[in-house]
Symmetry: C2
Subunit: 482 residues, 2 copies
């Protein structure tokens, strides 16, 4: 029997879509919030079992204080070895906004109706979406890979390329222990290239081959008012209000054009080359459709292109807390006000230097910046004591365009999708690729999720057509050489 692998696997997954979805559902039903170690262990074991069942030699490694890493190899005769990185942990799930519970995987059709999970022989619509935390970010690639392997085996086709696995359990926590795991595993992770399966395809729906990702750091800023909440009538207008002080501080962080006003914020960013600009220019415009999709009238910097903005570091207020709002609001001057901020780093930026600049900026606004609550004496002495708790994060990475590997991957993605793949210089999101990039192999990101997958938010979902794209992409990566 001689068949093209892509045709063979496509025929397989058309017949067995119901089985693939049942398997996906089982994996998504395991809660995987990145801070919940017992839950993460159950996920790691499930991932290892999925790959062991396809003939891989898997191992669940667990360092003290860390979530387990799932690692292993498939095949031993190939000339080429591809490293496969994905992660099994997920973001916290918040409390509202989910149309179905985050760990009760549910199929929805385009009209907003729940679809029962199909049985053998039932039709499956590629526009259905599976809703659950981690459906897109980042359990989908694991299901796509095992489906490709099942399809090849069922069709009597053998992979031509070996795989080595690194399935992370701490990606959503910034992979603090990935470097330690990689050091300990050493040569066992040798690969000709590391492919990172995470993030969404391009907004226009085209597949993309992404040559980097932004880095990340974060901080939580707390402004101190009176030592305890005070009655807003008896004291308001005389004691300064920390919520207003926080608002005024945050307002100094960006100028009217949406650029970050922190001194030196853009100084370390690697300038764009002509090649970068050419790649950026080749990207299709997505802005009008995106404004429509997210329901806003204009970009923060009106008329700006998304891809251009992603080449820069960003400043994002991800949370605010002071007193109460709504029915629970009390007429008080709050005792504290807190903002949580994440900063995305561009190539060249360093987390420690960015956080130092934030500290300097706050000091320039008259803040006495501490890494803990102020003492009573510091409250008496300094008009504006603040606490800054940093999250160190990791730098951005970028891989050069124009290599045979990149060309091979662009071809595979284009053939899998049936439409030309875009080459994108960086993902807007962050991946802890800094640790992986120390393995001295080229590193490229191959996203498969739909762009509107709501990752990190409520109603995270995966469009089935994107799952099938992932199956096809793995099929080609497993059977083609470069």
């Amino acid at each position: 029997m001689h068949r093209e692998p892509l045709d063979a696997v496509r025929a397989y997954r058309a017949r067995h879509a119901w089985r693939v979805l049942a398997q996906f559902r089982d994996l998504l039903a395991l809660p995987n919030v990145t801070t919940d170690l017992p839950a993460l262990r159950r996920n790691a074991d499930a991932v290892a079992r999925l790959l062991t069942a396809r003939g891989a030699r898997m191992e669940v490694v667990e360092h003290p204080g860390a979530a387990p890493l799932v690692t292993g190899r498939l095949g031993s005769g190939g000339e080429r070895t591809l490293g496969v990185y994905a992660h099994y942990d997920g973001q916290p799930v918040g409390t509202d906004g989910w149309r179905s519970p985050p760990f009760t995987p549910t199929l929805w059709d385009f009209a907003g109706r729940v679809v029962p999970f199909p049985g053998a022989g039932d039709a499956v619509d590629d526009e259905w979406r599976l809703y659950a935390r981690a459906a897109a970010d980042d359990k989908a690639p694991l299901i796509a890979l095992v489906t490709a392997l099942d399809g090849l085996r069922e069709s009597g086709l053998a992979p031509a390329v070996d795989l080595v696995f690194c399935v992370d359990g701490e990606e959503e926590s910034g992979s603090p222990h990935l470097g330690g795991y990689l050091d300990a595993l050493g040569d066992r992770l040798r690969a000709d290239a590391w492919l990172v399966f995470d993030g969404p395809v391009h907004h226009c729906g085209a597949p993309q081959v992404v040559l980097g990702a932004r880095g990340y750091c974060a901080f939580e800023l707390t402004v101190y008012g009176p030592t305890r909440e005070l009655h807003s009538g008896h004291y308001g207008n005389w004691v300064a209000n920390p919520a207003l002080t926080l608002a005024r501080l945050l307002a100094t962080f960006k100028d009217a054009r949406g650029d970050v006003a922190v001194k030196g914020f853009y100084d370390d960013t690697t300038p764009l080359t002509d090649a970068d600009r050419a790649v950026l220019s080749a990207l299709p415009p997505v802005e009008d459709a995106l404004l429509e999709r997210v329901g806003v009238a204009e970009a923060e910097s009106p008329g700006s292109r998304l891809a251009d903005r992603l080449m820069l570091p960003s400043f994002n207020v991800r949370g605010l807390r002071a007193g109460d709002v709504g029915a629970a609001a009390r007429n008080v001057v709050p005792a504290t006000a807190t903002a949580s901020v994440d900063i995305r780093l561009a190539a060249g930026d360093r987390p420690d230097r960015m956080l130092a600049r934030v500290r300097d900026h706050l000091a320039a606004q008259g803040c006495h910046v501490l890494d803990r609550d102020p003492t009573p004496d510091e409250r008496r002495t300094h008009p504006r004591p603040v606490r800054l708790i940093p999250t160190a994060g990791y730098p951005a990475v970028r891989t050069p365009a124009g290599t045979p590997l990149v060309e091979h991957l662009v071809r595979a993605a284009s053939d899998a999708a049936g439409t030309p793949a875009l080459t994108v210089p960086t993902l807007g999101g962050s991946l802890p690729l800094h640790a992986l990039s120390t393995l001295d192999s080229p590193l490229v990101i191959l996203p498969i999720a739909n762009a509107d997958n709501n990752q990190h938010a409520a109603d995270e979902n995966l469009r089935l057509a994107n799952l099938w794209y992932g199956v096809d992409l793995f099929t080609l990566l497993l059977t083609r050489r470069w």
Copy 2:
């Protein structure tokens, strides 16, 4: 038997302090959050029972959609009738910061130790404090009154003054139905003066006779970002962040000196007269001690006097909400950001005009101000749609100084406390006195709670010495004519 009423009642309450505290504990153990109607009904009944047991003819009136009002009369032969206003409802209790649960009344000593409730014959320390929601605001005056009545009866002394009662169940909600209750009760609330027992004594510890209170209005402001939370890496730095937009808007509401920058904010405020200035000048300085007590280095407007600031309308951010902070923080651009703001009104200010100025201010910052969520079309059309939900509130009131009634009250307060009472032109807090002031009797506020009672906040408490002051004050008001 002929004894001075004050001596007689003091001797009585020294012997029966344990019984007074047990009664107070029972009343405070009834949850009374101002939005909880079934709980409020239980409080109204308990208040009516307390006064009925002292010979008053009480009635619990309940209008549709309103918390009950407790009203009635005590005595029928006096030449003079004093109206007694207090309220039995309390502020919401929040979720943390209480050293003992808000509805488990607990005695604490000065060293921070729990004190068992005393039995008959046990010593009682006047510096102990009773911790519970409403211990100060505003169940203390009710216990002080019934204790004074018990002491007089036990001593064979009869009140020389009749009382008429108005015990409100919606004060912490802005008493939206008080006007309707007063209209319906009409002549039954006839009194020579209305005395409002609420709020704290002066910061220096001296008793005070307060000739007015600030009014109140409030609003909740919601800023809209994308229709749902977006991944901060993939979209941050391109889509505007509503939390940052909210911070920038709030920053425009006050200038660097702490003055409200809303156009016309101070235009309606009645200017201070020379008499007002004289009363203000006579107040002792409290600022240094207060800064020390609340743990801040300087006032919002450094060097300003608290009493001066209270003669002006205020702007207070009582709550902020966007996304999440702490362990629950997710790397998203939040979909909305909300601030809750209360405005205290000075004499002459009107809530509707203040709220209109806030709306105009927001419009001048480029906001499209709605009273509901924006439609998809409004989101597409307006770069900055916001929702403003107003709370109409009520105006301030002030009674002129220099009348015989005011002089009588100042003497009574001074004698009860054993130290000269201060005359204060206005309370910083708000009371729904606008409705009461339509009864055409002079209206004066007689606070009894300690200044550091934490009313409206966690750890609300009443110092026992202040409860005894209240008992003494009621004793003199009941037995002296003017």
